[in-house]
């Protein structure tokens, strides 16, 4: 079996360990003899390359880099990603990418910055005196009831619209906005999350869910992945759960 993973803007939107998600996806394919190939999609890459991919990942960015990637995403790659997500191609949007697939981001100064509108959500920054939401976080995925852990670090607060379901319920930490107790969002087979950088290493069940969905769509049949030895993954997860006193 073969799988092509699109990594959007690896040189612009990869701020703090985002690469971990790509490493985990490819290794977990490799360990199951699934031939995974990563296509690095950046400013100059034609959309035809993106269209051939079976799974999408896009990570966090600094403001200046996000602006550079943003222009290209809104004009060129975004509409394609939207079509792919609508068709059920699995995707993971982390941090800045999560904000970016919404309708808009409203900074504390200046007007709203439009997003790609793939997810029914918007983000706003409550002002330069508001504190950033920073720290380790534990949540439970609503559909599977499995635990996820991560680190969040965001100034913007994200609010989901009627047409979008939250991904997980926060047990300890802030999540989307620090108010409603939810973290991330899920639409069709696409997940958005504020767990920045390496979300997948300590949450391998999400990696496997994305891989399985990608294969199912490609092979047009249900796919059951061979289990892997995840003792270390779960020990690392357990450490975070434990250190937060959950």
């Amino acid at each position: 079996m073969k799988l092509t993973i699109a990594w959007l803007y690896p040189d612009l939107m990869s701020t703090y360990g985002d690469r971990g998600n790509i490493i985990v996806l490819t290794k977990r394919c490799e360990w199951r003899d699934i031939d995974a190939k990563v296509e690095e999609i950046t400013l100059e890459t034609p959309v035809s390359t993106l269209k051939k991919c079976d799974l999408i990942f896009m990570g966090g960015a600094q403001d200046r880099q996000q602006k550079l990637a943003g222009e290209d995403f809104l004009k060129n790659k975004g509409p394609i990603v939207r079509e792919m997500v609508e068709k059920g191609i699995p995707a993971l949007f982390v941090c800045a990418a999560y904000q970016f697939v919404g309708h808009y981001y409203k900074p504390y100064r200046g007007g709203p910055i439009p997003g790609a509108g793939i997810f029914d959500l918007y983000t706003q920054h409550p002002g330069d005196q508001a504190k950033r939401l920073i720290g380790n976080v534990v949540a439970r995925v609503i559909s599977s009831q499995k635990t996820i852990v991560g680190f969040e670090n965001h100034g913007g607060r994200t609010y989901l619209g009627k047409n979008l379901a939250p991904f997980a319920k926060v047990i300890k930490g802030f999540g989307n906005n620090g108010e409603d107790g939810y973290e991330g969002a899920v639409y069709k087979n696409a997940i958005g999350s504020y767990f920045h950088g390496p979300l997948l290493p300590k949450n391998p069940h999400i990696a496997d869910w994305l891989i399985a969905k990608a294969l199912e769509r490609k092979e047009q049949k249900s796919v059951k992945l061979n289990p892997l030895d995840d003792v270390l993954e779960l020990q690392a997860q357990e450490y975070v759960v434990h250190s937060l006193g959950v």
Binding site: P10, D11, L12, S14, T15, Y16, G17, D18, R19, G20, I23, V24, K27, L43, Q62, D63, R64, Q65, K67, L68, I134, G135, N136, F151, N153, H196, G197, P198, P201, K202, L232, E233, Q235, A236, Y239
Partner: protein, 410 residues
């Protein structure tokens, strides 16, 4: 000097003495902290009393080593120097150092990236050295660009007659240096490496400033030394790496990053027109420090970790210990380990891992295809008759030293 300042100095000295006598620490921050609370302008008042002036060293990596090199060079030329050698690089650390040696000729201070603006409000340096800017402790410092913006504002306050020494090969730092020195009365001296043989074949993943600061176009590199450090130019607007004033020097320590530290300190010597001999330079604590069979290479962010790894492997390391903590001085967020290229560790090197976040580190290595032995207790991880290269984060480095040598830093 007013009465309160004098009193603050006196009390600060007493606290420093007490903390050294009771072995509570090197007296690195508390004397200064208390003196600052008693007399908020004490930094400015103490710094202005130095006979020849202040030299500041800023950047993500290499501050401690570079500041120590500058200190040695100044002392070789008969100057007395006050220096925050314990690495306490906030304003309280600088004040603590000054209290203990207020009559020196020169003050040489390394300054934390976030604290540089605070210090520049109080101190008018003769020379400021800008080493590099890499992604580091996102939860504490914010993004590289956020730091750069703060620096840009702060550097606007530099007085006439100040020399800015900037790394030509770091596009962001070179840009900041150029912009700040465009005002009349300020001088820029650039340092950089002109040695294509040292270009890296495979580019690191962790690069931060590879797009033009003027126009946003992707920079073109004639070659990269590491991370985003190299010989760069912008094909769109013509912005390019400034020609280095200093590009040659013998580094007393292995590793390309130490060559940069050497060039920076030689640039200071050149600016002051004094001679410099670093051949007998001894590394600063935790930075390539040797304690028995243990060799310590502080490694606290992706660019630094990659450089340390490359250096110890070039030195023929056969046994590594990697230690990852997530305390406040390390940054609470350990995501950055996924930006380190651990994949470069060959199969015949045996690897131990330890630290607060030992499972995260072991997991990262598992996905890099590196087999590692996990030690929950650091003291056990250090037990070996062989030469052990230890790459720890900051608080882990202090812990290792504590186990091997006790708490004293200097």
């Amino acid at each position: 000097m007013n009465v309160i300042t004098a009193l603050a100095i006196c009390i600060g000295k007493l606290i420093a003495r007490a903390s050294q006598l009771t072995n509570l620490g090197a007296g690195g921050t508390w004397p200064g902290e208390i003196a600052l609370r008693l007399s908020p302008n004490i930094l400015s008042s103490l710094a202005s009393r130095l006979k020849k002036g202040v030299i500041l060293v800023a950047g993500t990596n290499g501050k401690t080593t570079t500041a120590k090199m500058i200190q040695i060079i100044l002392e070789q030329n008969g100057n007395s120097v006050v220096h925050n050698a314990s690495g306490a690089n906030l304003d309280n650390g600088i004040v603590s150092a000054l209290i203990q040696k207020p009559q020196a000729d020169w003050g040489v201070f390394e300054v934390d990236e976030n604290t540089l603006p605070v210090v520049l409000r109080q101190v008018t340096p003769k020379i400021i050295v800008l080493l590099n800017l890499f992604r580091d402790q996102l939860d504490r410092y914010g993004e590289v660009d956020v730091i750069a913006e703060k620096w840009q504002k702060a550097l606007k306050k530099l007085p006439k007659g100040c020399t800015i020494i900037a790394n030509a090969d770091d596009p962001l730092v070179a840009h900041l240096g150029k912009a700040a020195s465009s005002r009349p009365g300020l001088e820029l001296r650039a340092f950089g490496i002109d040695e294509p043989k040292l270009f890296q074949k495979k580019i690191d993943h962790a690069t931060d400033s590879t797009f033009c600061l003027n126009c946003g176009a992707r920079l073109k590199y004639e070659g990269v030394y590491f991370s985003h450090i190299g010989i760069w130019s912008c094909p769109k607007c013509g912005e390019k790496r400034p020609k280095p004033d200093v590009s040659e020097g013998n580094s007393p320590l292995p590793g390309l990053y130490n060559l940069y530290n050497t060039l920076a300190s030689l640039s200071v010597a050149k600016t002051l027109k004094i001679r410099a001999d670093l051949s007998r330079f001894r590394p600063a604590f935790g930075r390539q420090e040797e304690i028995g069979n243990i060799k310590l290479f502080l490694s606290k962010n992706p660019a630094g970790f990659n450089q340390s790894l490359r250096t110890v492997l070039e030195l023929g390391a056969k046994q590594l210990l990697l230690v990852l903590n997530d305390r406040i001085p390390d940054g609470r967020d350990v995501s950055w380990i996924w930006d380190v290229d651990f994949e470069m560790i060959p199969n015949d090197v045996s690897v131990r891992v330890s630290g607060d976040r030992v499972y995260d580190l072991a997991l990262r290595l598992k996905y890099a295809g590196v087999k590692a032995t996990l030690y929950e207790h650091l003291d056990e991880a250090l037990e070996t008759p062989e030469i052990l290269y230890v790459l720890p984060t900051y608080s882990a480095m202090l812990e290792v030293r504590n186990i091997l040598k006790g708490r004293k830093i200097l």
